[in-house]
Symmetry: C2
């Protein structure tokens, strides 16, 4: 009697779980499982059976050059693939940066000169040097998307647009909401996901890495590759990093970031204060340390995090020095917190300007000297440099317990 | 005491009514009146005050070469502008015809070879010779839109798309209905109105002529011209001609058409049968005759219409001959209807093939001779050439009273 066979092959299928360094920290892989859409393999199988290095795409936007730890996450994933013998294909989005938003409707898509783009891209790449393998031959391909996008003519663009319907595009998060609210969506906005998708066609990507907010765009890449007769890429989504405030996503404008270009001390000082609930995610996404061998004590974890990440960007020695300097800074030369002179904020009327507090506490001789010191960059609060001359604190709670510092030798601990 | 002035200027404004040959038959001019959108002038004023010939655009689609009286309406309007000293700018849509629909999603937009396009365009233009002024220097400009459309790059296309919102595009008749019914609208379809609109920019049109179904596209042209710093064109909408059946719009596929390439007799014979209720519109749109001086008798009107239009395309002499031949044909050599031999269809079993009737009536010696005669183009029914060998008539009512003719000399009147 014939019975239908259980799909043994599927159950015993290789998955990306068999490649721990590649799997680490990923939020979603699609398609992850064998499905009717993708009957032949999953990413694990493709990794196991491929007889050539896979091409792993990541696109960077050279409109800004300053990048932070959040940006390093997909780059670290690229590195993991490089280490496994694959090719990191870094796409510099110079085309879009150079044309900006030709309609002038987007503040975000400013138009840059070719020189600006080139400079930003170089600075960007410089900052990736500590993370990405630039040196092993054949492991890194850097491509500028103007190479193919500037060649597109109207016939090809009609073809690209013809792969999608208005309904599909309006289903995209962001568009859907705006359409519902009847806020205008300009037609050219529909082209951006298709341009990003066409990058995948141009470089024949096997895998594209992106943040979880990129799922739609990565899926468009799959569709376009299929349309042009290529095997569609796997989409590999990484989490968006929460900033050092523990609340919002890491962002330069929110001030809750650690920039890749920061000096070892600043980097260490910020990271050794990361909140307990974020520590595991930071270790998972920003280091290669085995997660089951981390110290249990939160304070030790914080220090290890600071040391480890500062080491990545500045080397072990500089990181250890930063750790030492941080102890000195916070605890003073006497190496005890108690040795730092205290200053009571009880007399200060809030909201209060920092330069006023600097004067009142005698760290500076006058408010105007204090302003100059801030401007000169020598004022720090708990190790974070303050560069905004007119910064205002609204209540005593924002300051109490913190160490205020001018230059290398003058400290006070603010108390209530 | 100050009172608000009535807008005297507006009331006394010149309008296109002051230019009767230009005004004739137009359904809508936009903007027709002075409005906040168009504070300076209306078309009448522009015509009156212009110190250069205006550029009057009309676009033709060279995917088909066979054109009928419906197509002649905007061309006749172009001619009226030529006669008033302006420039007819005829756009041959060769770009779209050559790329077709690169997504393969439209049956309508077949891809043609450059040779096909060139041939169709030539045939098309040949057929316009009797209507349009090809000879007076400076009155006609023929432009192929590949001249500018093939030069568009992605940056420019982003700019074009950026002039409109999804909401505006979806408000277009056709799109609106499909969107509501959730039938897919492919993104590239949004580009076609913009391409047509960009043609207006490229040729710096002052006026664009189109059918009433073209209002949206002509308005897009206005928007794009404004966007590129040009004075926006006036849109001038002409009615869609009802076919000789008096019901549906004239169309080759519906068989209710008079082709511009038809011989004088066929043309005359079709037109002298146009229904009473259509006559005035046909005179208005297809002739220059003064409408208040038409004969009152409908039969005389029909004959005049046939004569007048056949004259336009074949000259007065050939038209008069056609009129004579038509009388002969319908009434026989004796000039009375009774002189035409009659054939009773009583014995014929319906549905019946025409070649069988031709044999049975002895107009042809056999069914196979009848088939050859049809194929050879010498069989006519009430003056209309029949070219479909296997044409079937379903009932006696479709034939009774009509004259069946083979060659120039053999006639019978079909009776029941």
């Amino acid at each position: 009697m014939a019975v239908s066979q259980p799909s043994v092959e599927l159950e015993s299928a290789v998955s990306l779980q068999d490649f721990p360094p590649l799997r680490r920290g990923i939020t979603e892989i699609f398609p992850e499982i064998i499905s009717s859409e993708n009957p032949d393999e999953n990413l694990g199988q493709r990794l196991l059976t491929t007889n050539r290095p896979l091409r792993v795409k990541f696109g960077i936007d050279p409109t800004a050059s300053d990048i932070h730890l959040g940006h390093s996450i997909p780059i670290r994933k690229l590195r993991a693939f490089q280490d496994a013998g694959h090719i990191a294909v870094l796409i510099i989005g110079d085309f879009t940066a150079r044309i900006g938003d030709p309609t002038g409707k987007s503040e975000v898509r400013r138009q840059l000169t070719p020189e600006d783009v080139q400079k930003n891209a170089q600075t960007y790449l410089e900052q990736l040097r500590p993370i990405l393998d630039f040196d092993t031959p054949g492991r890194l391909e850097i491509r500028y998307n103007s190479e193919w996008l500037s060649q597109l003519d109207l016939a090809k663009i009609l073809e690209l647009l013809g792969t999608m319907t208005v309904g599909q595009m309006l289903a995209k998060e962001g568009f859907a909401l705006r359409f519902e609210k009847e806020s205008p969506i300009y037609l050219h906005e529909f082209l951006y996901p298709l341009m990003q998708g066409y990058d995948s066609v141009a470089v024949e990507a096997d895998i594209e890495i992106g943040g979880t907010d990129q799922k739609f765009n990565l899926a468009v890449g799959r569709d376009l590759q299929r349309h042009f007769g290529q095997k569609p890429q796997f989409g590999l989504l990484m989490p968006i990093l929460i900033g050092t405030d523990g609340v919002q996503k890491m962002s330069k404008s929110l001030g809750n970031y650690v920039a890749l270009s920061e000096d070892p001390l600043t980097m260490y000082s910020k990271l050794e204060k990361v909140q307990d609930n974020l520590l595991n995610q930071y270790f998972e996404l920003l280091t290669n340390l085995p997660l089951d061998q981390l110290p249990e004590n939160p304070r030790d974890k914080q220090k290890l995090l600071g040391l480890e990440i500062a080491s990545q960007f500045h080397g072990k020695e500089a990181a250890l020095e930063a750790q030492k300097a941080s102890l000195t800074l916070v605890q003073g030369d006497a190496k005890t917190a108690e040795a730092v002179p205290e200053f009571s904020l009880a007399e200060i009327q809030f909201p209060a300007k920092l330069f006023y507090i600097l004067g009142a506490s005698k760290l500076c001789k006058s408010s105007s000297e204090a302003r100059r010191e801030i401007q000169g960059g020598s004022v720090k609060l708990d190790g974070d440099r303050i560069s905004e001359v007119d910064i205002i604190f609204n209540s005593i709670d924002e300051l109490k317990g913190k160490v205020l510092q001018v230059g290398k030798k003058k400290f006070i601990r603010l108390i209530d």
